[in-house]
């Protein structure tokens, strides 16, 4: 069995680690690129949302590289993501591929199916081995998330733009090679030291939150690297979501997760009184939370035709007006060009700077 899975930010690091621990041969698809997008869009329904197209592109590239089994997350709605796997499977079948799909639906009461799938992926290993493999993968992702959070602060202040990104990328690959907790602890410590020794300017940067649909938020190829671009403009960003949030929410129901859920409901309540699937409620809640935390603005990222985010997008102008909190929504599809995104980001940062000057006076 040669397994593969779709890309979403650093997700591959955790999945690859866990699957290798279980003795699988893992084929990580090439990083999403123009080619991935073209391949995926050609074979996808025209009006499907962008993540489905990129997922499919990843699968096609992984199949080229010899994969024969695809692992995919599922879902029970109401957003499209939960049905992606079923549709993608059908598309690949119709294209004549002979490929095995293992689609993980969130447990949500169906523990038996969930455990069955888990055993298949578990490669005959006992349950505790499966969990410890998963936890090891998640631990690596947690370290990356932690370093990225610190990285956001440094990127805005670094003298040599790109230095932080370089350190983070190096660390990512070191973590990929690491096979023990001891090793990853050491890598974390080293990376931290390196990050903190990056030469920094003494400035008080603008603070901008990034929120929206998780795939676009986490995948730099898709969002035109907005985090780093903002960093280059000396803006400090904070993301409303990280990969480990997603993994934990989908795999390990936790008290922390439930608390977060309540917080989201409470914060979005005056504007959006119900969950709408995907990350729609989070996007609305983010505006309220980051306005309270005195951020200077928020960038809201979404794929074209994304249902939960269209709801958020329709509601955000009201939130923005009420709280006097600037929000920029960027919509992505296969035709989005980097130049356009950059122009809009620059204009937004300009606006924030001007508002800040006015406030000070």
């Amino acid at each position: 069995m040669r397994v593969t899975f779709p890309h979403m930010g650093n997700l591959w690091l955790g999945l690859k680690t866990a699957l290798q621990e279980l003795g699988h041969e893992v084929i990580v698809p090439p990083k999403p690129s123009k080619r991935t997008l073209t391949l995926g869009s050609q074979r996808s329904p025209e009006f499907a949302c962008l993540p489905l197209k990129i997922n499919l592109g990843c699968f096609l590239e992984a199949l080229e590289a010899g994969a024969d089994t695809i692992i995919m997350a599922g879902g029970v709605g109401p957003c499209r993501f939960g049905y992606y796997g079923a549709v993608q499977k059908r598309i690949l079948e119709d294209l004549g591929y002979n490929v095995r799909f293992i689609i993980f639906d969130p447990p949500q009461g169906r523990w038996r199916e969930f455990l069955n799938d888990l055993r298949r992926v578990g490669n005959g290993k006992p349950l505790y081995k499966i969990f410890s493999a998963l936890l090891f993968g998640i631990r690596k992702l947690e370290i990356m998330d932690y370093l990225e959070k610190i990285g956001h602060k440094i990127k805005a202040r670094e003298v040599n733009k790109g230095e932080t990104t370089h350190i983070l990328e190096k660390t990512l690959h070191k973590l990929d090679d690491a096979s023990s907790y001891r090793e990853i602890r050491r890598i974390r410590k080293e990376a931290l030291e390196e990050l903190l020794s990056v030469q920094r300017k003494k400035i008080d940067p603008l603070r901008v939150a990034i929120t929206g649909e998780i795939f676009v938020v986490l995948e730099p190829f898709v969002n035109m690297d907005v985090e780093n671009e903002l960093g280059k403009m000396d803006v400090e960003v904070e993301r409303a979501l990280y990969i480990t949030d997603w993994v934990k929410e989908h795999l390990i129901p936790s008290i922390q997760g439930i608390r977060k859920h309540h917080l989201l409901e409470k914060m979005s309540k005056p504007y959006l009184g119900h969950f709408v699937g995907g990350d729609g409620q989070l996007s609305v809640a983010s505006a309220v939370i980051y306005a309270k935390r005195k951020f200077h603005g928020m960038v809201h990222l979404m794929p074209f035709t994304c249902m939960p985010e269209i709801i958020a997008q329709s509601i955000l102008p009201r939130v923005s007006k009420d709280l006097s909190f600037p929000v920029l929504t960027l919509v992505f599809d296969e035709h989005t060009g980097k130049a356009g995104v950059l122009t809009r980001l620059e204009a937004f940062v300009d606006l924030l700077q001007r508002r800040r000057v006015v406030e000070v006076h």
């Binding site: 329904p45 025209e46 009006f47 499907a48 949302c49 599922g74 879902g75 029970v76 709605g77 109401p78 957003c79 499209r80 939960g82 049905y83 796997g85 079923a86 549709v87 499977k89 059908r90 598309i91 119709d94 689609i103 504007y271 959006l272 009184g273 119900h274 969950f275 709408v276 699937g277 995907g278 729609g280 074209f304 035709t305 994304c306 249902m307 939960p308 269209i310 709801i311 997008q313 329709s314 509601i315 102008p317 009201r318 939130v319 919509v331």
Partner: protein, 322 residues
Amino acid sequence: MKVGIPRGLLFYHYYPMWKVFLEGIGAEVITSPPTSKEILNLGTKSSHDDVCLPVKIFFGHTVYLAGRKVDFLFIPRVVAVEKEAYTCPKFLGLPDVVRNTLENLPPLIDATVNVKRKDKSPLKAALEIGKQLGAPVSRIKSAYREACENHWNYRNLMLKGFTPDEAIDILFKERGWEKKEGGRDIKIGVIGHPYNVYDRFPTLDLLGKLEELGVEVVTGEMIRQEDIEHHAQFLPKRLFWSYERDIVGAAFYLIHKRKVDGIINVVSFECGPDSLITELLQSEARRNDNFPMMVITLDEHTGEAGLQTRVEAFVDMLRRRK
């Protein structure tokens, strides 16, 4: 007390039930007129650009009614109508989007219906609405019972082959309808969301066109629920949207049983669920000896001439195959 019901989205599924219920608790029900250029313009002006056409049309009807001095607008939040599925995310957020986008609205009746939760059952929603309108509980309950009964009458009329407009006329204007028969040599299944299939404006009267071309039309609402359920099971995974599951089940039934000569799938541009289920329908049609299927994508710029030509060509093709 005047309650306005916008003629869009779930109107086509539930209007008779809503009307009977609201009248039963003492309200006067007002609806917007059939969709027109003006209504669509009201909608496109007031809603977000990227939203699907049916929601834009719904906004048009809502704005229209808001300008007609109604005391309430009836826009319930229909989250789930069966235990194992949701409706479209846009229905989950509909009252919020309306409230946060449109200005000068009368108060909304936006009770939540979610059969996954005991405290959000349809009866609970009815009680909440009744309370909002100040009706006594006993009256609410009897109005609710009558409304449910009416819903089934409505569904039965559609099963017999009447369109929602015709069925509504039969129910409320006590008018009889003769079904036109004879001279119809081919049968086409017109499959899609009822607010797409039956709204004459955005479809440029597709059903009327087919009738003129001598085609007998079968829609999803004319197919028995057992058949729909049975054939929806051929999906690779249970679909978690109720209305879309009905659409797929209906199309699969028509394809598997060869009940029609061809299928026209009506979808809206920028519809999330449609983007996936159309793919499944096309794949299923291909796998069944290339069963003839045509997809019509509606947006606000659908052109009369182009559509007419495509429909005629499809009908001709089906005739030649016979």
